[in-house]
Amino acid sequence: MLRIKDIDTYYGHVHAIKKISVNVDAGEFVTLIGANGAGKSTLLKSIIGLQPVKNGSIEFLGERIESDRSDAIIRRGISIVPEGRRVFPDFTVAENLAIGARARKSTSAEMQEDIDKILDQFPRLKERWKQKAGTMSGGEQQMVAIGRALMGRPKLLLLDEPSLGLAPLVVAELMTKLKEIHAAGATILLVEQNVTLALRVAQRGYLMESGEIIASDDAKALLESDAIRKAYLGIEH
């Protein structure tokens, strides 16, 4: 579904992504892990055209998208939970969710159905329905950002650290939810700092370091691999 081949991304002179290739097949649940500054967020930005790629190609559903405009890429059926939430601060929760459905031009019945599901998942949002997102707590905003992405009923869902700022219980529920929507047919690419958690829910994982993919394998295998253990898990317990 998503084929990234040998792309490079620069911020001025900073070479943030170095000749990276990543594949996500239809129906897969893939996670991307790596330390601060490894380039995970940059990769997501490159996929949706927010950071121009230098070389290589990005294919989505068989079509080249690397030189498309961001909004056009999104309208092909991608949703993203961006780094730092980026809710629309002056919009109410309701409006933030509504705008998430813009790209797909959902009917109002579909929208209502999605909204019900999201409010079910995050009851907190129901209480805050008419509140401006900018005045909500960090975790509440994160819920809005996730809900907003789900409103797009995406073919491919990109998540950049969705668990950030969420209380433990909510994180657990979120992961269950992700599994659910994956089971329902969505393709997911998840960036997470919480490596254990990510590798538990995902099928496959990529490990990034300084702009390069240094390992990629089955999630289980990665979870047990020495490289990961040393870098991330060895110190646990």
Partner: protein, 253 residues
């Protein structure tokens, strides 16, 4: 006793962010503040640091009421904070970001800078030296001339800590410092907080990483829906059924 929160309530129109919350922070300790999303933790920091004026109740710092002061005044008394949402100065370099924190501990005025007095120059180079030192605490000294906006998310949070430290606070309020850090980085953060605590900083910590909180804090306050539902040492709190129901969950991590 350094910081004392007394009967604080905070309302925004219909929303009650805090209801009659009281607790004390003991000098030299690490106090944890936990609770579900939207429980009012950040709001409490905002009240203590002077961003919000409480609807009712008072905050005392060394028996001195601070709830009516402006935030820069509160900072000068020795209360510094970091932010849950990134609030670095995006267009300034890292060292400049931290040097802003030194402002409250330096004095030179506009006139002495116009005449470039020796005192002014010395003070400035001293501030710079100290800022770089603080950057090294959080491992960012190598990037000191980078613009803050170009840092990855996790490192911007670290910068925020260095900047708060630059104000030479007695109390440091940390709002989710571990968010966006991976396990290894959390270990360094834990070490840093321990080190700071050993250096006699009093610390109040908001975190959703329960393990980190339990390991670091000697006392924990739990909020839910703006109410304090529990308070005590890690054992007490962890076994409090109200806390388990509201926050920790029975499964446990």
């Amino acid at each position: 006793m350094t910081l004392s929160v007394k009967d604080i309530s905070l309302r925004f129109g219909g929303v009650s962010a805090l209801t009659n919350v009281s607790f004390d922070v003991q000098e030299g300790q690490v106090t944890g503040l936990i609770g579900p999303n939207g429980a009012g933790k950040t709001s409490l920091f905002n009240v203590v640091s002077g961003i919000y004026t409480p609807t009712s109740g008072q905050v005392f710092y060394n028996d001195h009421e601070i709830s009516k002061l402006r935030l820069d005044q509160i900072n000068r008394l020795g209360v510094a904070r970091t932010f849950q949402n990134i609030m670095v100065f995006p267009e300034l370099s890292l060292v400049e970001n931290v040097m802003i924190g030194r402002q409250s501990r330096t004095k030179a005025g506009a006139l002495s800078s116009i005449f470039r007095t020796r005192k002014e120059r010395n003070e400035r180079s001293e501030a710079e030296r100290r800022s770089i030192e603080l950057l090294s605490y959080v491992g960012l000294d190598k990037k000191k001339d980078e613009l803050a906006k170009n840092l990855p998310y996790g490192e911007q949070r670290q910068l925020d800590i260095a900047r708060a430290l630059a104000t030479d606070p007695k109390i440091l309020l940390l709002d989710e410092p571990a968010a966006g850090l991976n396990l290894q980085e959390r270990v360094s953060l834990k070490a840093l907080i321990k080190k700071l605590n050993a250096m006699d900083y009093t610390i109040v910590l908001i975190e959703h990483d329960v393990k980190l909180v339990m390991d670091l804090c000697s006392r924990i306050v739990v909020l839910e829906y703006g109410n304090k539902i529990s308070e005590g040492d890690p054992q007490q709190v962890q076994s409090d059924p109200k806390v388990i129901a509201a926050y920790l969950g029975s499964g446990g991590e």
